[in-house]
Symmetry: C2
Subunit: 813 residues, 2 copies
């Protein structure tokens, strides 16, 4: 129904991006340029962290807590130390310390916050299964594993804290003796919420739960650290977001920034969960510096399941007040955000965003949200693609479905009445998210919804579902509408250099984590220089080559890194024109860019390629003139405001009444992009996100038993969907509302495709069953559907207790 | 007689260097601060190129020509290729190309010059013993050596060209079919030389020869090249002068500059002979890129003796015209500079300097010099510490000794009458050296000579020698006076960064090659910041961290790199004051530097350390303010004029008449430093240079047989003097004439100690024998002294033919 090959951006004029280019200029921005990242990957030339092997390299293996909550009575390392090939055994006694938080303002609000950060090694207490207790460094990973088995840890077990609501209700078991289990409380409020509820025609209330799941990249975490001989320096490969990691590692190891050289690797998936510094990075670097030899640590999948950040586990108690016409008057929510045992380095950003983004794309005149950051004896949680938005959108959209039912409107209609339109702009309800005012500046969500429904021919979906249900089939439709926030992080750096050979190097502070930023930056610079994007090399992730940068998270890189690269390209052209004016004896004002050259306008013979200009401006020539040699420029792009893409997810789903199996019959995800630099990579990003959203909606969950033991530590137990389970995803991109914030008009699209998937699938499931039950928790796991299908046939089998729990209000797994 | 512990610079006021510091400021510039380079070396922590071993590293061995001059009939690599462990065999068929010259103006003067550059591999002809013909890359150096022995090379022998004068006189044997053996001719002339000779009271003529010798660093050359996976990039360790090498390697391998990452190593001696790119570097990097694996090449000592650059072999035919009082009227010389088979990358710089520096520290009203750059079937020559000055000073000072004898003046007196004094300033005779006008701007050489003679108590030396000779002992004194040129190369870069930890990083474009530049830069920045120099880390030799630089040669780094580091430090202080003014709510004008802090003058409590300022100015704070984060600055120091240090070398030497053995009884070398940043490292530099000068004067020579076979390919045959042969060297440094060219007043002192050693030792030998013979060639090798001693006793033994030759005019070895 949607032509997947149609590239909405292709052929568009590209206002703003290249204002200086004439009508005959080649366009790369807005075109479906092929991903330059792929050739390396397909040829096996990409170097992942585990591909790095260094001379005299040693191997680190982490010994982790087997208990969820216990006092550490003793850690006996003697037998391990005596194991052949063991070079070092490390515990908290050798390497104390914690991973500090980023410095972005929360310290002022929560002065105790550093007390709750993650220790490198557990010292006197373990707080989750998987927490590092010791590490072995040995000549091979096998010897290190052997020695790890000889570490004798004596535990004095404590009761585990697992449920986030119970954790606060019952204060007798605490993770930290000096703190309650509420690490932080974040409140956001505007408008007269109590007044609105008093006068409301309808009040709808519900409790909604998102299960604990997370990003599961193909490549697990890893780290190689190599001491620089004769100085304090250390080269480090592996951690994602070079500059952030450089700062934290230097801080913890008491090195200068200049001593920590973060080196580039290919990243086999990040999705947020690998971002930042983990205890394992610190212990690897420390061991390398202590031993004077390179040390490698490679996480196995079991470790990844218990030690890489989890995400998503949140419980929402939510109420909405409506007038008689179903128009929202106010929204309140109380959120229990089960953060696990410690605060990871980038927290409490996720929690802040969570409570701030609950109102989403709706006109909510009054809002009051409170979020409890709850400590528990589970793996610490952190950002996973679309953090807070996936969860909050699930809860809010479920509430709206419930409200539609209660008020007697269709799910589409109640949304249409409440979505933001261009008449609401600028929409500034008076709330801060991550220390900046929430400010929706461009778009019309109703118009976008209409386009989405039209593109899907949703009326036909509805008709079809009714017909099929009349035939006894369990077919239902779901709709979810989302607002994302993108582009946090203030600024990004970019530098462009033209080589005398004609190649162009772009250095970016962004991280290439699979999202396609290399392609996008090449397009942006290629358009300004009017050269083939293949001539452009992108360099990232190396703190020697890129002295300052921020990194890729929060769907920020196209706007911020793209803005910086574009500015550096424009500044390079300015320099090229300045030099060419002398070399060609022309006036700067007469010069134009044409085919990688500076040309006197209208005089095609009078031109110098950028490469020639670079070659002529060698050190000697440039320094004599008091100038910098070569042809290039560095730039910084600052954008103190996030941008807000939005979209719709429409799902048609069928459940097999006999088996509880499901089929996603139709799936359309739509996005208002502002402007897409590359509609092909945008589509890939959005569809990939949708697939992850389906995983969280129907399959993936980290379950724990009552003692806090994780029950999902392999792909046998953690249901990561494969290609076979996935539907064809249709994608509609609109470019109706470019953001005025940046020269591209672009909105960040790295996460948007994920956000409404849980909501729309839950909605479709309820529609398919039409049994009066309400899905209040994702994932709607296979056995849940099976039990719900069984429920339809009285006296057939006994419902499984967990399935009951899942559909019951207020509980979670 | 000279207190070696007296540091002339210590305690001096330091005008110019730190004008902004108050009287109570700590002084580091001018102090004998300990060498910061040494700790690493003494602890074995320094990493030399051969210390680098990389995972999956292969080893390259070069197969070299065994013939001096031959056509290559065939190079059969089949057996070598079949040798187990061999990964690659390379010849000119695989890797053609040459090492291009630096681009500094000679191409315009000598358009054919690139035809004479060094091929990477010999293609159809070999031109010296040691020239690379093929290379083997194998799993170990042993396997590579085995395979190298299986390369079968068929030669069609040609007559060798060995003697530089014969090479031009007889044109029947040429190295290049299309060129005569005169590669280039360089002429420099000013004044009316013919007129001066016509009216002269005295004309003195002589022929003088300097033997072929060179720098023999403890560490031979080497190279490790590591391809960067997934891109065209290559990391290279080993070649000296990072930026120069980056440019040449990128050029030859057709890579972008950005693809060639030069990496730092410790350098176990350079002395000029290891500077720049050699064919071996190119073949190593190319093999690594082809094979996708790291490749290491380590030169052995035999290879070093035949393949690393030689130096010094020059023949001077020189005449001087004097008036009746012994005042110079004119000087002419014709120089045959035996350059060996090819022009190395930095040539013909040495030849240019040679002919330009012959007049030296003397008032020469008219000068006419012509230098033949002669091609021969010997190892190519290039710069070795004090190139051209050692040779020219030997010839000129010998001529002056001869003139003194002829005119009837003492050697000291004839010099005193002709040396430049302050009355001659500025001395600009109208001659260019390396494309810049020769321009002596500060000093008084007569005054300096008097100080040297007084410091030595030279009258007493003379009296003593006369007395001892009267007793039949062979004791003589020699005096040599020199002018050096220093600081070529236009500019250098420097960057300073203050870390929040308090450490300071200085990045320099200079190369740390043992000369102590790390210490000197630390002193300069420490003085400006008023911090302990131990807090300062110096980074050099890494093209990623230092995007542009020139390197350390031509005694340039203290002035140019020091100037850049100082400027960067001053700019850093400006930034610190700008930030501190806001932070302290003070006026910038009230702020001063004190103990690594910015302080409100007179208000010791109102201060911020540089570290604190750096820490507060993080990315977020700085970018919001539109500023660069952190506290630091980059600077370029441009000095388009060389500076001209001068000095005196006084030697008292005794020959044992029975054995011909010699003892250097007294040795004083003096230098006008302008201003020494570190009098201790200056002293070390000058004494080390003097020792190398003694090697060239009495021991070291690369001899060839008539077929062009090198006869000195080990330390058995090449007499490198050891500590045991070396005298105590006294050193007098004056700081009477700071150069106005740079803020320190410093003159470059890396080579000055070497220049007059050959001249003064030759003079002392003649004085000791007082036999009417004249030393016309260095080295005055041990057997020469033995034969000359024999000559004194008629009918005792038969003089060795070579000894006769050595003292005969016009011949050379």
């Amino acid at each position: 129904m949607i032509d997947e090959n149609a590239m909405p951006g292709a052929g568009l004029s590209t206002p703003g991006a290249s204002g200086g280019l004439g009508a005959s200029a080649k366009r790369y921005v807005g075109q479906p340029v092929k991903r330059r990242e792929d050739a390396k990957l397909l040829r096996g030339e990409a170097r992942f962290v585990d591909d790095i092997d260094l001379h005299q390299q040693l191997h680190l293996v982490v010994v982790r807590s087997s208990e969820a909550h216990a006092r550490l009575v003793s850690v006996n390392t003697e037998a391990a130390r005596r194991t052949p090939g063991v070079r070092m055994v490390i515990t908290a006694a050798d390497l104390p310390g914690r991973i500090p938080l980023e410095q972005i303002g929360y310290h002022d609000v929560y002065p105790w916050i550093e007390d709750l950060t993650h220790p490198i090694f557990a010292a006197d207490r373990v707080r989750y299964v998987g927490q590092p207790v010791a590490a072995i460094v040995a000549d091979s990973p096998y010897l290190a594993e052997d020695a790890a088995a000889r570490i004798e840890i004596a535990y004095d077990l404590l009761s585990p804290v697992l449920d986030p609501q119970e954790a606060l209700a019952d204060d007798t078991v605490r993770l930290f003796d000096d703190h309650t289990n509420e690490a932080l409380r974040i409140e956001k409020t505007y408008g007269d919420t109590p007044g609105a509820f008093e006068g409301a025609a309808h009040v709808v209330t519900g409790t909604y739960t998102v299960g604990r799941h997370s990003g599961v990249p193909m490549e697990t975490r890893g780290c190689v650290a190599q001491p620089e001989p004769g100085c304090r320096g250390v080269n480090i490969w592996g951690p994602v977001h070079a500059h952030d990691c450089q700062r934290i590692i230097a801080n913890v190891l008491q090195l200068s920034l200049a001593d920590v050289h973060m080196r580039h690797t290919a990243i086999g998936g990040n999705f947020g969960v690998k971002g930042g510094v983990f205890p394992e990075h610190i212990m690897t670097a420390w061991a390398a510096l202590q031993l004077g030899r390179p040390v490698k640590w490679t996480e196995d999948r079991l470790e990844h399941m218990v030690a890489t950040s989890h995400a998503r586990e949140q419980v929402y108690e939510m109420s909405a007040a409506f007038d008689a016409d179903g128009r929202l008057l106010a929204l309140t929510d109380e959120i229990w955000d089960n953060h696990g045992a410690f605060l990871r380095q980038a927290e409490p950003l996720v929690s802040d965003i969570t409570v701030g983004m609950v109102p989403g794309p709706y006109r909510v005149p009054a809002y009051s949200g409170v979020l409890h950051v709850v400590l528990s004896n589970k793996t610490p949680s952190a950002a996973y693609r679309a953090p807070g938005r996936y969860e909050g959108t699930f809860a809010r959209e479920r509430l709206l479905d419930q409200a539609a039912h209660q008020i007697g409107l269709s799910p589409v209609e109640i949304r249409r009445r409440n979505l933001l339109t261009s008449a609401d702009l600028p929409y500034e309800p008076g709330m801060e998210i991550c220390f900046e005012p929430y400010h929706f500046d461009s778009g019309d969500v109703v118009d976008h919804l209409d386009k989405a429904l039209a593109a899907a021919d949703f009326d036909q979906w509805e008709k079809e579902a009714v017909e099929l249900r009349a035939q006894g089939r369990l077919v239902g439709n779901g709709v979810g509408i989302l607002m994302d926030k993108a582009g946090l992080g203030l600024y990004e750096t970019g530098a462009v250099d033209v080589d005398p050979s004609g190649r162009v190097r772009v250095r970016t502070g962004a991280s290439s984590v699979g999202q396609g930023i290399e392609t996008v930056l090449a397009q942006i610079v290629a358009e300004e220089f009017q050269v083939d994007p293949e001539l452009i090399d992108i360099v990232h992730g190396d703190t020697d080559l890129i002295p300052d940068g921020v990194g890729s998270w929060s769907s920020r890189s196209t706007v911020l890194a793209g803005g910086a690269a574009r500015q550096a390209a424009l500044d390079t052209i300015d320099k090229a024109k300045r030099l060419a004016a002398d070399m060609l004896e022309a006036s700067i004002d007469d010069l134009v860019v044409s085919d990688g050259s500076i040309m006197v306008a209208g005089s095609a013979d009078s031109r110098l390629s950028l490469a020639e200009i670079a070659g002529r401006w060698d050190g000697w020539s440039a320094r004599l003139a008091g100038d910098e040699p070569g042809l290039g420029a560095q730039a910084v792009y600052v954008d103190s405001h996030m941008n807000y893409p939005y979209g719709v997810t429409l799902v048609q789903l069928e459940v097999d009444p006999a088996t509880g199996g499901h089929t996603i019959r139709r799936f359309l995800t739509t996005t208002e992009a502002g402007r897409a630099i590359n509609p092909m990579t945008t589509r890939g990003q959005v569809i990939g996100a949708a697939i992850q959203g389906i995983g969280g909606a129907l399959y993936e969950e980290f379950l724990y038993d009552d003692s806090g033991q994780p029950m999902c530590t392999s792909f046998m137990d953690y249901l990561l969907p494969g290609a076979q389970e996935m539907p064809d995803v249709d994608f509609l991109m609109t470019e109706d509302a470019p953001t005025p914030n940046n020269p591209f008009g672009a909105k960040g699209l790295g996460e948007v495709g994920l956000i409404a998937v849980g909501a729309s699938i839950a909605s479709a499931v309820d529609d398919a069953f039409s049994d009066g039950q309400v899905v209040r928790k994702v994932p709607v796991a296979p056995e849940t559907l099976w039990h719900r299908a069984l429920d339809r046939r009285p006296n057939v089998g006994v419902p499984h207790p967990r399935a009951l729990e899942v559909v019951a209000e207020g509980s979670h797994g």
